[in-house]
């Protein structure tokens, strides 16, 4: 062999070697994960820690984070998904799920679940939570966390106002709110309010619904074909909120513009004594104002109800589920990530970090910190007293119609009766559309 041939052979071997070495790196798959909780301090920290563990266990998969603000989530996803793009794996709350399924934006996970044992794998999930993610017998997502909305209150402020126990009825709630609305400095302006209700789009659904349901009313009939906004219960709930804002002034001024995070900030800064929140709120409030000592000062109780209606539904589920993009180029890897997020260990971590109950019964029933937590002990019985908001594609439009009607009545541009009657008529028209 000539020197020239030797050099050529050596070079070929070198190139082959490099190609072989480069092989595993080029086979690495990047999954895009998007979640509105990546845009929130506490949740973001927890998610990134979990994903670091996933990447360590799966060196062939890298996760690219795509945070999105809750208010912008559907705008961003719908634009991307319509164009056949978007994140590989993403999180949704219960509201838009049916629309995403209808549009074909989320992957049918049934074949993946079948490989894990099918019904046996799903048996650990609460059947009620699987309802929203299931359509025509196909499972399109897996519920990760759940929380009923609870009356969340600052025990110190209640005690200071001479209120021994959280209000159980709406009459008690109204009186307590009035009592705790005051100026904390002599001669100063009112700077503490009894309660608040989120009336901005982000968070309205979960909060107003518990007042409506607490009064025995609801938005739609059980089969989601008729508006129930003309019921006496709906009228009572509507008037109750308006009177508290206009007459009692026990909600902060500018309440129409307060969103969920704004509300939590007011609670964190002792400006508001009672609010309707989910279990997730405690670590967030603790993060906003560590000096409050939220874990100690805050307490949770069931949503008030009128006497005689204690057996009815009175709360609303918050639920976060994980979905796969139907156009994902890496479905196997995406499923691997979803499965990882659903592991018991990850559910437990999520509870420790974020105080949220799992979608899996076994986690909630056996994990010691959950069993010993004062918030979950108050919330667990309420899972049976809560319901999802209507699971139909038209729900976001219906919800916005109700929100606008309530705001119009609060702004006095319509009487409460007129605003509710208009909302009822508009919802009927929305439901009648094909």
């Amino acid at each position: 062999m000539s020197n020239r041939s030797r050099v050529l052979h050596l070079l070929s071997a070198l190139v082959l070697g490099l190609v072989t070495l480069a092989g595993p790196a080029s086979a690495q798959v990047t999954l895009v994960y998007s979640d509105w909780q990546l845009a929130e301090n506490v949740w973001n920290r927890s998610l990134r820690e979990a994903f670091a563990e996933f990447e360590k266990a799966n060196p062939d998969i890298k996760i690219k984070y795509e945070p999105v603000a809750l208010g912008q989530r559907d705008t961003r996803y719908s634009t991307a998904l319509r164009a056949g793009k978007g994140p590989d794996v993403f999180a949704l709350d219960a509201n838009p799920i049916k629309q995403y399924i209808k549009e074909g934006w989320v992957m049918d996970l049934t074949p993946f679940i079948a490989k894990e044992g099918g019904q046996q794998y799903l048996a650990d999930w609460y059947p009620s939570l699987l309802g929203p993610v299931t359509e025509g017998g196909k499972v399109y997502g897996l519920p990760k966390n759940v929380s009923p909305i609870m009356l969340t209150y600052n025990k110190e402020l209640l005690t200071a106002a001479g209120i021994a126990a959280p209000p159980k009825t709406w009459a008690e709630f109204r009186e307590a709110a009035k009592k705790m609305t005051k100026a904390t400095k002599d001669g100063g302006p009112v700077d503490q309010w009894g309660t608040l209700l989120v009336l901005a789009p982000a968070g309205f659904d979960l909060r107003f619904s518990v007042v409506l349901r607490g009064f025995g009313g609801d938005f739609l009939s059980p089969d989601n074909t008729k508006s129930l906004l003309d019921s006496p219960e709906a009228k009572a709930a509507f008037n109750y909120v308006i009177e508290m804002i206009q007459n009692d002034r026990s909600l902060p001024p500018g309440v129409s513009q307060i969103d969920a995070q704004g509300g939590r900030t007011l609670v964190a800064n002792r400006k508001v004594a009672m609010a309707f929140e989910g279990l997730f709120t405690v670590p967030i409030i603790a993060d906003i104002n560590p000096q409050l000592d939220a874990w100690k000062v805050l307490e949770m109780a069931p949503v008030p109800q009128n006497p005689g209606s204690e057996k009815q539904i009175r709360s609303t589920y918050y639920m976060k589920s994980i979905f796969m993009n139907s156009k994902s180029e890496h479905p196997e890897q995406a499923w691997k990530l979803i499965k990882f997020m659903m592991e018991k260990k990850q559910m437990e971590k999520w509870f420790v970090d974020n105080n949220l109950l799992s979608g899996r019964k076994s986690v909630n029933d056996t994990f010691k910190p959950i069993l010993e937590n004062k918030f979950t002990n108050a919330a667990r019985p309420e899972i049976e007293r809560a319901a999802f908001l209507p699971q139909i594609p038209k729900w976001p439009e219906i919800m916005e119609t109700v929100r606008q009607a309530l705001q119009a009545a609060i702004a006095k541009s319509k009487t409460p009766e007129q605003a509710l009657a208009d909302a009822h008529k508009a919802v009927e028209a929305i439901l009648a559309r094909p």
Binding site: P189, G254, E397, T401, R433
Partner: protein, 299 residues
């Protein structure tokens, strides 16, 4: 004898003036078709449920909904009121500032820069800044009213329909008046000084000079500014979205916001496209006076 000498020389098509003209404008025309034409056609097709839908089928349903939907009627009315108020505000303030900036004063360049500043602020950001300013709990305006004006409790500026509408007009009036001001300033600078001198010789007062010299000379500029600003304000989205979000209720919900909501929040792309097409048709009609004026000047 050559053809040229005979006078029946056939001009090569590439040398023809009209062809040259077309070739010159072709790149811009293709760009316009790509950037504006395709989306416009797409929107029309979408409004008939022919595009971006899982089951395409030709239907007028979205246009029928336009007629029946009280939310559309309310948003159209809000848009009309908002545009009339904002454009009037812009014309008034724009003229006033343009006349001040047309005066011969020291540091005129600095005043011009200051007057232009609001125009440089993105509308979404301007809306957020105004929102913080009028916030009932932490807002600067309520602090001033409570501290210095004897107000006992904060005013809920964005929680009352008329006040929210007023805030929106004021905020957008402030942000976008420099556009009108610049057009009118250009018009003012084009007025020959001899006309003012002649008026002065005739004994005209300052008001008479303004009434009979300035205003007639600015007429064309007024129309151009008003039409362009009307089209701009009809499409305004960012300011409304970030300042009031259309509220309270639907008191400040304009057509552009309703279009956005129907598409991105309610997932009704066909209806959203129908609203956009209706708005575009209205704006096309509005642009007729502008086109007539500008074409008359260039011919």
């Amino acid at each position: 004898m050559s053809d040229r000498a005979n006078g029946d020389h056939k001009v090569n098509w590439t040398e023809r003036e009209d062809v040259k003209g077309v070739l010159f404008v072709l790149p811009a025309l293709l760009l316009l078709i790509a950037v504006l034409g395709f989306p416009a056609v797409g929107a029309v097709l979408q409004s008939f449920n022919l595009l971006w839908t899982d089951k395409p089928s030709f239907t007028f349903a979205a246009y029928r909904q336009l007629v029946d939907d009280p939310a559309f009627a309310r948003a159209a009315w809000n848009t009309l009121l908002f545009v009339i108020a904002t454009v009037s505000f812009h014309l008034l303030i724009g003229l006033l500032v343009a006349m001040l900036l047309n005066l011969e004063v020291r540091l005129k360049w600095l005043f011009r820069v200051i007057a232009l500043l609001p125009w440089t602020v993105p509308d979404v950001f301007a809306g957020l800044v105004w929102r913080f300013m009028v916030d009932p709990l932490a807002g600067f305006i309520n602090s001033v009213l409570i501290t210095f004006a004897g107000q006992t409790e904060p005013v809920d500026w964005l929680g009352t329909s008329t006040l929210a509408f007023g805030c929106l007009i004021l905020a957008e009036g402030w942000r976008a008046y420099p556009f009108i001001m610049l057009i009118l300033l250009a018009g003012l600078q084009a007025i020959p000084p001899q006309q003012y001198e002649a008026a002065q010789l005739d004994g005209a007062t300052a008001w008479q000079s303004f009434r009979f010299v300035t205003l007639p000379n600015l007429k064309t500029m007024f129309v151009i500014a008003a039409v362009l600003d009307t089209i701009w304000e009809c499409r305004l989205f960012g300011m409304v979205f970030s300042l009031t979000g259309g509220g309270p209720g639907d008191a400040t919900q304009v057509l552009s916001l309703l279009t956005y909501r129907q598409n991105f929040e309610f997932f009704n792309p066909a209806y959203s496209a129908a609203i956009a097409v209706a708005l575009a048709a209205a704006m096309l009609a509005l642009s007729v006076p502008y086109l007539r004026l500008t074409m008359k000047q260039t011919v």
